[in-house]
Symmetry: C2
Subunit: 350 residues, 2 copies
Amino acid sequence: MKIQPVIMSGGSGTRLWPLSRKARPKQFLNLVSDKSLFQETVLRLHDGGEIFSAPLIICGRGHAQLVADQLAAIGIEAADIILEPCPRNTAAVAAVAAAWVAENNDGALALIAPADHHVEDAAGFRRAAAAGAKAAEEGAIVTFGIKPTHPHTGYGYIQSADELSRGVYRVASFREKPDAKTAADYLAKGGYYWNAGIFLYHPKAMLDAFAAHAPLIAEGARKALAASAAENGARLLDERIFSQTPSDSIDYAIMEKTDKAAVVAPVDVGWSDIGSWSEAASDPEAAGHMMVDSENVTLRSDGPVIGVVGVDNLIIVATGDAVLVARKDKAQEVRALVDELKRRGREDLL
Amino acid sequence: MKIQPVIMSGGSGTRLWPLSRKARPKQFLNLVSDKSLFQETVLRLHDGGEIFSAPLIICGRGHAQLVADQLAAIGIEAADIILEPCPRNTAAVAAVAAAWVAENNDGALALIAPADHHVEDAAGFRRAAAAGAKAAEEGAIVTFGIKPTHPHTGYGYIQSADELSRGVYRVASFREKPDAKTAADYLAKGGYYWNAGIFLYHPKAMLDAFAAHAPLIAEGARKALAASAAENGARLLDERIFSQTPSDSIDYAIMEKTDKAAVVAPVDVGWSDIGSWSEAASDPEAAGHMMVDSENVTLRSDGPVIGVVGVDNLIIVATGDAVLVARKDKAQEVRALVDELKRRGREDLL
């Protein structure tokens, strides 16, 4: 069994403003540990070549150097780095990945994973991947159903059906982000899992699914890859072709339509998508911030020293040109600030 | 009648950190209006030469250029700028002022005022000064008793005795910062006023008081002024002499001992010493900060854009290298952060 890791690093992470910026989005920040989420993801899918091949990275055109630097810092060499000339959402990335693996890593399964998630138990995740591999080799498109710890309304859910093999189920349905009541119902009923947005598949299975459900995306992805050109030590997808490829999520374009969907569940590995500041950790003590008469405050800075007096339940994020102060349970609304900056044309702060 | 304004600009304003720094302390910041407190103070004691002469500025050695620039910006020329080679507190400044006025503005009264206070009604304050001038010409050392609006525990109080002339009283006693109960008693009894730290006197009256109560300070001040040297378009007090002059406040050294103290009261001009961030105003809207679902938040920045989400009752102050977030009623405790920075040797942030 061979698994080809494909790291999707094209996200923007606007809810992690002001630390997350276009030039250095969320996945390239050290939000949870002394490694970036991207580095954590690469290392999570690395086992010294036993099952996992060297990673394929797919990222935004502007991040080629950042990716190269962050890989070098952890001593990992990529199999290839593919640059997106423009964002085309996850369906096109999955199709590019399928085409690349079919051509470059014969017989391997593709495991595509967002670069901006955190997983506590990396070995546990690799075991979950191995558990799904047999179903994938038999043609299933395997998803990973995270064991829900609470009725989170910010995640999509996967409902499982009958068991295909030990710990792997047919998917009954994909559910979009639920309201609080629906989420509570899911947890009470059982058999509903958080959709981690990670997929394991044989290239042929995915390309067949694309042929059936989204042929234009598959064709655009294949041609853009075939016409790619070397740039900054990476491979730039053809801009004219890729920009005309339809933009859609893999969930909508394929997963909700195919009858090949399977789910490994429950996956209990301490997974989080670090969707907002309320899920990130404070800078370590060493960062030199100062707290007086304060508690339950998350402090992040890329330079400025932060001093707090008499406050609680806050997230404070400081950069040299922007500062965020948000109540912890309002961290999702940081997006409104980013929208306001866009309206004002403050590209310098985005 | 002539009055010589003397602007005491030597303060450090640590409770206004992180905007107030050694290189640009509180009095040189635009905290309440589009002018600095220093500029406001100079203009408050300016009437086109009718009663008030051109100001004498006494400031720290490092601020000569800042003072010159801020005076130029409001089109005021100083009579003289005296630089302190080291801080020696207000008694030495009052003695320097008396010696300078005796020598350079014959027959004028000296009005010495801290540069870091705010007064809403400048014309009202000039009327109060004129009201105290007769007593000062007759030998009184005149203070200004601000009409208290609430039992503030951060100010000293002046207790008035019998009336000397209309609106001018002998001082019964000076009271240090009271506890809350005592402050409430003062307001209930009446005849107690906030001590604004502003003094009006004839140079001879003050020099006589120094001769009686603090001769070493008077001698040091006189000699340091006589031995002063030109520096940066100003006059630097002799460092060796001034550094050996005793350091004391004018209140302790003179006012609590002399029987010449008088008080103009009640002075009702919207006075505040802007002692902490809770008394400062927000940046104007134009500064481009963003508030979502928040209220009663004071925002100050010398550059960084501030975005707040879901918070209230906060003071947020941002600079490129330091950020303060404090609950409004804890703003006094900012001093603890500054003390901590000193302990850590973070001179770059002080």
